[in-house]
């Protein structure tokens, strides 16, 4: 036994590398776990954050990781701190990647626990049973700032319940980004969708295809729904009933599908079916794409990269005109929900009202990305906004002023001419629209078949939400 034991266990007085690792790990663990206990000496009540004052409460906010990091730093370290001190509230802001917003919101609902305020990147109307109506604070802000922008109102108002289920704070226009030199080289234009159809093969021929996504992601959703508007292929009518399979709507949708099929076959590559929300941005900044629809993160990324040849050649334009209209979706519609299970509802309401009343600073800090949901938050409205955007120093000078025109005239909500109902939210989040376009572009369905199939699915979703009393 002794021999065996000696053979199997080989004690040594020397410090082996394993001993070193073990001791080091144990020490690090102990310090890490318990080293900070003194900071937690306030116990369960938490520290009194502001000297000589008893905290009135807490507020936990979940929002996205803004593509302008400086905006988040200002929001977290300046704005929220100041607001917290003024209102005696301990505010904590968490940021997540926008791709995880919806699933994280769903997980908080499932657990009935989470943040007090939850910000969504598009109108989260399927969650409205889980949120408290905020009509009172919408009215309070409207009394001070004037009417809410129509895009924000249609995104957050439910005509069936006659309540605002969410509080919109901002929206981002969705301009066309294009390389001026490439468009000039092929002698093209982006004024109408027919112009786009004609320019697409020429741009592909010079090695710079268009980048119009048909994938399961938000940019494709926004672009393709906009295209449907331009051709009169409305998914729902003003009464929020599904009408895409009927009359002129069906004809318009079929024409839009045909157009996109042509653009894809002659002017794009297969990659557009597998894109993420960042893909058009990356391909454009890499110098490959000639045209893309996106919020201004493309131009800002190009500017920040230092590639002036690219950024100086990148221009912005309104969405092309279709046979019926020129109209596009917002790229981002920022909507806050106050969960029913929120612990600090009154603080949440106060925060939203105060934030909206002082939104000018948010607009500036976001580098003109966050347009205020109440245009009156910036004194002088669009006139002032135009002046502010004109002051941007990046070349080509004045390129950002078009954002004002887009925001004022050519930006609407998903579900236009109706509201952004839970039906539209579900259609968006199940990516039925890009799938319909991709089916046609890949030749798997004719446009008529694709519209019929889409209509059938949309009607089923409508019936579901109708039965739940939300449309």
């Amino acid at each position: 036994m002794t021999d065996t034991a000696d053979e199997l266990v080989s004690p040594s007085s020397a410090l082996t590398r394993e001993d070193l690792l073990k001791r080091g790990a144990a020490a690090a663990f102990a310090v890490g776990m318990f080293g900070g206990l003194s900071e937690k000496a306030f116990g369960f009540a938490g520290p009194h954050r502001y000297t000589h004052r008893q905290l009135a409460g807490e507020l936990r906010i979940m929002t996205w990781a803004h593509f302008v990091p400086a905006y988040d730093q200002w929001l977290d370290n300046v704005y929220v701190k100041q607001w917290g001190e003024q209102n005696d509230v301990d505010v904590k802001v968490d940021h997540i990647n926008n791709a995880f917003l919806y699933s994280t919101g769903a997980s908080q609902v499932a657990a009935q626990s989470g943040h007090d305020l939850f910000w969504f990147i598009s109108p989260p109307s399927t969650f409205q049973r889980q949120a408290i109506p905020v009509t009172d604070i919408v009215q309070e802000v409207s009394r001070k700032l004037g009417r809410m922008a129509k895009v924000a109102r249609k995104s957050t108002y439910n005509p069936r319940t006659k309540q605002f289920y969410g509080f919109p704070d901002d929206y981002a226009p969705d301009p066309v980004h294009y390389r001026k030199s490439f468009i000039e080289e092929v002698g093209g234009s982006l004024r109408t969708w027919e112009d786009v159809r004609r320019a697409a093969p020429k741009l592909k021929a010079i090695g710079h295809p268009m980048g119009l996504g048909m994938s399961n992601e938000i940019d494709s959703n926004m672009l393709l729904t906009s295209l449907l508007y331009c051709y009169g292929g409305f998914i729902q009518n003003e009464e929020n009933k599904i009408v895409i399979g009927q009359g002129k709507n069906r004809t318009g949708a079929i024409e839009a599908l045909q157009l996109m099929r042509d653009i894809f076959r002659n002017g794009m590559t297969d990659e557009v079916f597998a894109w993420t929300a960042a893909s058009n941005n990356q391909a454009f900044v890499a110098g490959r794409l000639s045209v893309a629809l996106n919020a201004i993160s493309i131009t800002r990324t190009a500017e920040n990269s230092g590639n002036t040849a690219l950024s100086d050649d990148t221009w912005l334009a309104s969405i092309p005109r279709g046979p019926v209209m020129r109209m596009g979706n917002e790229h981002v519609m920022g909507v806050y929900l106050i969960w029913k299970f929120a612990q600090n509802k009154e603080n949440a309401k106060k925060f939203l009202v105060d934030t909206m009343l002082g939104y000018r600073e948010h607009f500036i800090r976001s580098q003109y990305y966050n347009f205020p949901a109440w245009t009156g938050a910036i004194q002088g409205g669009f006139k002032t906004i135009r002046q502010m955007t004109a002051q941007d120093t990046h070349k080509p000078k004045g390129k950002y002023t078009i954002l004002t025109t887009i925001a004022e005239k050519y930006t609407t909500n998903p579900g236009f001419p109706g509201n952004t109902t839970p039906v539209m939210d579900e259609i968006f989040n199940t990516y039925l629209i890009p799938q319909m376009f991709a089916e046609v572009a890949q030749g798997k369905s004719t446009p008529a078949e694709a519209v019929r199939a889409f209509d059938r699915k949309a009607q089923a979703i409508y019936r579901k939400w109708r039965n739940r009393g939300l449309v």
């Binding site: 036994m1 803004h66 968490d94």
Partner: protein
Amino acid sequence: MTKRQTFFTYLVVGPFAIVLAFPFYFALVTMFKTDLDLANAQHSPFLYNDLEGNFHWDFWNYATTGEVTFLFTDTNFPTWIVNTVLVAAAVVGITLLLALPAGYALARLAGGWGQSAGVAIFLVYLLPPTLLFLPLSRLITNLDLKDSLWSLILVYPSFTIPFATWLLMGFFKTIPHELEEAALVDGCSRLSALVRIIFPVSLPGILTVVIFAFSLCVNEFIYAFTFVSSSEQRTISAGIPNDLIRGDVFYWQSLMAATVIPAIPLALLYNAFLDRFIKGFTGGAFR
């Protein structure tokens, strides 16, 4: 080994090594690239280029440490690493504390139903984490552990212990009864025999459990992401994809650095025990 054998060994191993090392090379190059070099599709992604896309031997003049510095100064990356190590160490400890006696008991003391119980425990491991998410989420909420590393320290062992128990049970079964009996005859208690005889010869199995539990803690995403919301409390698996991708903008260089940097100490750590693993996997648990 003859020169001929050595040559053929490297002939076989060499290509594998190159293929396996290539992602690290790519990440290493990318993490020091300038934005202009990285974003230009005409430039080689495997080298450092000047503005015209040409390679120079003094490549360090065309690289930058700015994005790596950004990772350490402008993000919570160092905190994520510390958090990951803390969680992993705690989970490994809890797993060994519970799985070792459980595995031994099932292998030695449970009689005929031990095998069935072992399989039943293993089946628990096969439950998809997404199914367990809701009950565990409510549990964490009720215990007021949300947004805390303790939530992960509590939840992860529910995945690691079933597998570890099953694995260790198998290792203990390969050890001859005679060893323990000899120890007991020599005056050892069962606990003493366990600690002095069985555990040392089961070291390869224990190390496998350590690696499994540690790797799970480093890689796990769903719970790390949903149970912990604040950036300063995240582990690397949740912190990197969340904080280094902002909207449409990917911080590629920082992402690559954040991937490579934790891999280096882990590789060294695993290498420190490599001889043990090889002995265990190739020679069996008992010599």
